[in-house]
């Protein structure tokens, strides 16, 4: 997320670069790695615990720093965040701190009681992954997934007045259902429908040849998205990000975002598709991690590797082989 408009300013002024901000504007936090599903297109290879996941004390120490730094917007994902034992206490802390909170979940653990708690917490939104308008399409991608549970979760959340969004990742298995999925989101009363090109990282990279839609499929998909955006204008937000991960990296190399991505063990990545970590929120104060993040984007090692990835997208498969940019030894993810 970048500054999109300046008020009462002149072009080129401060506030247009991530360097200008005293703290991140956005925190993407993967609170856990545990997940009940084994999605073919998971960008995190989630499923099991990873070594060194943050303890309860470390989590709340981190959250106090998030509040003190004035980070305005946090998105919690996983793994499956509702499987984290401290999830609701974390959400309450964030809510009481006046921070906007988005929760990204597969929706399978959202029962009536959970919906009541979500409604009381008055989140910015709950984002449910629904990768099809039918159970057959959704479940062929989301192994062990249950479309009916996720669909019911959306219905319950909307009924209770929780701002609910659906996220849909197009693959060769489900891209044909993007139109019906948008209609479904609207009929369920969702606030928004989000999609964009699948990212070639994590488990998705391992299954890339099976998952990646053809250019023709994408072309048809974006045509539908354009039509649906018009159809639901002022009724439901249909948002799609038309660039792939390589285009994103080209852009971020020039203009890193004012955000941090913290993974379950506290490591802070520069960006999902790159293997680089700039610090660990268990080991360094968050303010220091932010400064390290800003510095890391200018490290020759980061710039050179990113340029190599842009030339050879096969290197995206290394995105979870973490390397601490400020240490010589490398750390490999076993997730």
């Amino acid at each position: 997320m970048e500054p999109t408009k300046n008020f009462n300013t002149t072009p080129g002024m401060a506030g247009e670069s991530f360097d200008d901000f005293k703290a991140p504007l956005f925190l993407a936090w993967q609170i856990n790695s545990v997940c009940n599903l084994g999605c073919l297109h998971c960008c995190e290879e989630a499923g099991h615990h990873i070594p060194g996941e943050m303890t309860r004390d470390q989590i709340f120490n981190f959250l106090h720093q998030v509040r003190e730094m004035g980070i305005p917007y946090v998105a919690i994902s996983g793994g499956e965040p509702l499987l984290h034992p401290d999830f609701f206490e974390v959400a309450e802390f964030i809510q009481e701190a006046g921070i906007s909170l988005k929760v990204e979940t597969n929706g399978e653990f959202i029962d009536d009681r959970t919906v009541e708690r979500f409604a009381a917490l008055d989140f910015r939104s709950v984002q449910i992954s629904l990768d099809g308008a039918t159970s057959a399409t959704h479940e062929v991608l989301r192994l062990k997934g249950n479309w009916g549970k996720s669909h019911a979760a959306v219905r319950k959340l909307v009924k209770k007045g929780v701002t609910t969004e659906i996220v849909f990742v197009p693959t060769s298995f489900n891209i044909h259902e993007v139109g019906p999925a948008i209609d479904m989101a609207y009929n369920l009363g969702c606030y928004g429908f989000y999609t964009g090109k699948i990212m070639r990282i994590g488990r998705a990279a391992l299954n890339w040849d099976k998952l990646n839609p053809t250019e023709e499929q994408y072309k048809a998909c974006f045509k539908i998205l354009d039509e649906k955006t018009k159809q639901y204008k002022d009724k439901m937000k249909v948002y799609y990000y038309p660039y792939d991960v390589i285009e994103e990296l080209k852009y971020r190399l020039q203009k890193p975002s004012a955000s941090l991505l913290v993974i379950p063990n506290g490591n802070t990545k520069l960006i999902g598709p790159l293997p680089f970590i700039c610090g660990n929120v268990k080991e360094q104060p968050l303010g220091e991690v932010w400064e390290r993040y800003k510095k890391a984007w200018r490290e020759p090692r980061v710039i050179e590797f990113t340029k190599r990835v842009i030339k050879d997208p096969n290197l995206l498969a290394e995105s979870n082989k973490w390397q601490n940019i400020f240490e010589t030894r490398s750390e490999t993810c076993s997730a």
Partner: protein
């Protein structure tokens, strides 16, 4: 006038950053814009803000009024501030 529910505001060296978190849009202001926003947060009316800024800067209130009203209208148009 008040900022909308999902709007978060933070002071920065350069002025102020305004984050409409529902629409995920970020806006920045210079220090003068920050002065207006601080007063809007304190629930001050545009008239009060104009008077205070005119006094603070020793400027013509009519000129200040144009800038303040333009700025506030911008905030409303961008749906971060509700009238």
């Amino acid at each position: 006038m008040e900022f909308k529910k999902h709007v978060r505001i933070r002071k920065e060296k350069f002025g102020m950053v305004i984050f409409e978190t529902l629409k995920e849009k970020v806006f920045v202001t210079n220090p003068t814009g920050a002065e207006i926003i601080e007063r809007l947060k304190d629930k001050k009316t545009p008239d009060t803000i104009i008077t205070e800024l005119a006094s603070q800067y020793g400027a013509d209130a009519a000129v200040i009024a144009d800038d303040v009203n333009c700025f506030i209208n911008n905030l409303v148009r961008q749906e971060v501030l509700a009238k």
